[in-house]
């Protein structure tokens, strides 16, 4: 069979064009814009590191970065560990298990606007969540989930976790299904209980999936935007504003495109560092 040398390239071309248009070109353009004072109105003017300098002194930037880091610390472990148990739960061959797998996945594909409106109702002072908590005598007064600066971020994080569980569960499910049954049987013969099976067999063999999930959820946590936009709008008093939301406001409310691009570049660098760190820490154990 004779292969034309250009054939693979032609297959790649459409993908390259799309990637080029929507990912590489905007990225490089944004890096360029971060060194200008572009505000859509006038032509971009080179201003060197002024944007970065201003960012360094901008308390709002650090505040939103701080929220983003809290997001990372709370959401990533939840989205790395909890779906494992969900996956174990649905990794059975009983009848109707497909139904449960779908049900857990539905939040992932539900429109964030619908999710936002629903959770907004759940979080109301006289909403279902407060009702249940009061019923169980866990609280005396309703918690002002969305209108208190101390709980607004927690409220949004819970929604992110809820929405992401199904997505990572599917990844883990695939990983689980590649673990041969003989291992479980051998472990049982050796007298291992469920917990030992989970920690000694599943966790180590699931490491590649855990690595993937860890990287993906870290990036997702750094980029979180929709939940905040729909549910709290960054409020009250910017207490649930994360980095991407801050960038959005600077770029599209205030039209400080250059400034927002600089913040975007910093976000990019942090995310890159995070991914590399993930690879080094989790990848080392498995020679990945």
């Amino acid at each position: 069979m004779k292969h034309h040398p250009l054939t693979p390239l032609l297959f790649l071309l459409p993908g390259c064009i799309i990637l080029g248009t929507f990912i590489f070109y905007p990225t490089i353009n944004a890096i360029w814009l971060s060194f200008t004072n572009y505000n859509i109105v006038d032509k971009p003017k080179y201003v060197g590191l002024e944007n970065y300098n201003q960012l360094f002194h901008d308390s709002m930037f650090w505040y939103s970065l701080y929220h983003t880091i809290i997001y990372l610390i709370c959401v990533v472990p939840a989205l790395v560990i909890l779906p494992i148990f969900l996956a174990i739960l649905v990794n059975r061959k009983i009848k109707g298990i497909a139904f449960f797998r779908s049900v857990y996945y539905i939040p992932v594909v539900t429109s964030i606007v619908v999710v936002g409106i629903t959770w907004d109702w759940l979080y109301k002072d006289n909403g279902l969540l407060n009702y249940i908590l009061q019923l169980l005598n866990l609280i005396n007064q309703p918690i002002h989930w969305l209108t208190s600066t101390s709980t607004s971020l927690i409220a949004v994080m819970l929604v992110t976790i809820w929405k992401g569980l199904g997505y990572y569960m599917v990844i883990y499910l695939a990983g689980l299904q590649s673990i041969p049954d003989e291992l479980y049987e051998a472990a049982e013969i050796d007298g291992a209980n469920s917990w030992k099976k989970t920690t000694r067999i599943i966790f180590p063999l699931l490491m590649p999936s855990i690595l993937i999930v860890s990287i993906m959820s870290s990036i997702a946590a750094m980029k979180v935007f929709e939940e905040i936009y729909v549910i709290t709008g960054g409020g009250p008093l910017h207490s649930s504003e994360t980095l991407v939301f801050y960038i959005f406001k600077e770029a599209f409310d205030k039209l400080n495109m250059g400034y927002a691009s600089a913040a975007g570049v910093i976000l990019f660098l942090i995310t890159l560092a995070l991914s590399v760190a993930n690879l080094k820490i989790l990848g080392k154990e498995n020679n990945i």
Binding site: C16, I17, T21, Y25, K124, G235, F252, L255
Partner: protein, 453 residues
């Protein structure tokens, strides 16, 4: 994967091919990027204008589906009278309009005629991106509109009028007579001032557990309340904040007390006017200040609440001032069909079309001739809430003005709004005392104004 073959030559061939493959791949990637940037720099194809038939694009702010027929009929009428002009009508949701406009203007794909409220036009005005109506229209054409309406769309230094006023709405109070009765209050004696509203809210909360009052705090509303309370926003030449007065402090104190005493819903801090309308329609609030055009929405969505609804003049403070909102039409300078757009604008704002529009919902025409119609001066035989609202409002027109005036600082209007709102939030949430919050708002305003010089 490199296949290890016994023949040394084969390995080299494989490696060579792979390296060639890689470098070609990189070249393809670079080419696609250059291809993309080249495309984005070239101007899109535009209507030459020399063709016989012109197509103009007309954007409205959230008029579908309630007014689809009205607008469509008006457009059909216009097209039949102007056979060389075709109108492409696009309706944009209110929450998207400002950004859609900005991105359209910056990507040079702006429409020809846009129904844009003053607040959304501020950035475009600072970019001088809108056609100067004072130059494009004759004096005669301009004189047919209420001075207040034109003033709303004129820059502070009175040099440029950038929009044609289309319809006006007055802030009025809607109140649920049923809840009033349940609380033992007289529905024919609604509160007229903020103080009275607070007292009414207290009674309603005690007797019915519902919230009496929903003073929305989004957009420029806090600034409006400030003016109503009798504190000016800016000094004479618009260079410094002027609301750090006893009246300004009183306004902060007022809202803080309402919030602390749970007389207004907590969600008021994060929700917007739309949510307030929903709460009112759900029968959870007794008093709601808004433009009477929303009555139509309440009529559709909550007929029970609608039939219990009475209207009164807008609640105001020490100043006795009422706010008028003006919706108008602007023409981006980029438009290649400015003459046709102006024709359409004048057609839309002629007396006949304006009166017809006002018959569909409680808004007021911007055209002086239109207000003479008996529709605005006489109550019909069996008046409905909307009828009462209309007559009340028409009387208020004289005492109404656009209360929030940024005095030449329109470029930083959003920042000023946010700064005042942030300070008010801090006071309401108890993070600062009202006094400290007013001072913080003042110093932030001065910083913003200083940077804007």
């Amino acid at each position: 994967m490199i296949l290890i073959l016994p023949d040394g030559k084969q390995i080299n061939k494989e490696v060579n091919r792979e390296m060639k493959f890689r470098s070609l791949f990189i070249i393809m990637l670079l080419l696609s990027m250059i291809f993309v940037s080249a495309c984005s720099n070239s101007k899109g194809t535009q209507n030459e204008g020399a063709n016989k038939k012109e197509t103009i694009e007309f954007w409205t702010m959230q008029l579908k589906p309630t007014f689809t027929d009205y607008i469509q009929n008006m457009i059909n009428d216009f097209e039949s009278k102007n056979p060389n002009i075709k109108v492409n009508w696009v309706d944009v949701p209110a929450s998207d309009l400002q950004q859609k406009m900005l991105s359209a203007v910056s990507s040079k794909t702006a429409p020809d005629l846009v129904n844009l409220p003053v607040g959304f036009a501020t950035k475009l005005v600072s970019m001088d991106a809108l056609v100067h109506i004072n130059e494009a229209l004759t004096k005669e054409q301009q004189d047919q509109y209420f001075a207040g309406g034109l003033k709303a769309y004129t820059t502070y230094d009175s040099k440029v009028t950038y929009g044609i006023p289309w319809y006006l709405s007055i802030e009025e109070t809607l109140y649920n007579a049923e809840i009033f009765k349940k609380a033992g209050l007289d529905p024919n004696n609604p509160p007229k001032t903020f103080e009275e509203a607070a007292e009414v809210a207290k009674v309603i909360k005690e007797k019915t557990g519902k919230y009496g009052f929903y003073p929305s705090l989004d957009l420029s509303l806090p600034l409006r309340y400030m003016v109503m309370f009798g504190a000016p926003l800016l000094n004479e030449d618009g260079t410094k904040a002027a609301f750090n007065t006893p009246e300004g402090l009183h306004m902060f104190q007022y809202f803080t007390d309402l919030y602390k005493n749970d007389l207004i819903p907590h969600s008021i801090i994060t929700d917007d006017e739309r949510k307030g309308i929903d709460e009112y329609a759900a029968g959870n609030i007794a008093i709601f200040s808004t433009g009477p055009q929303y009555l139509t929405q309440i009529k559709e969505n909550a007929p029970d609440v609608y039939k219990d609804t009475l209207t009164s003049e807008g609640i105001t403070g020490k100043s006795g001032l009422h706010n008028m909102s003006v919706q108008g039409l602007v023409i981006p300078k980029q438009s290649k069909h400015q003459k046709a757009a102006i024709k359409l604008a004048l057609f839309i704002t002629n007396p006949k079309n304006e009166v017809e529009f006002s018959k569909l919902t409680t808004i007021y025409p911007s055209n002086k001739k239109a207000i003479e119609d008996p529709y605005f001066t006489q109550l019909p035989k069996n008046p409905e809430p909307t009828d009462r609202a209309r007559i009340t409002g028409a009387k208020e027109l004289e005492n109404s003005e656009v209360l929030v005036d940024f005095k030449g600082n329109t470029a930083v209007a959003n920042e000023l709004q946010q700064a005042l709102f942030d300070a008010l939030q801090k006071s309401m949430l108890g993070k600062l005392s009202p006094k400290e919050a007013v001072q913080e708002a003042e110093s932030n305003w001065n910083k913003i104004l200083e940077n804007n010089k």
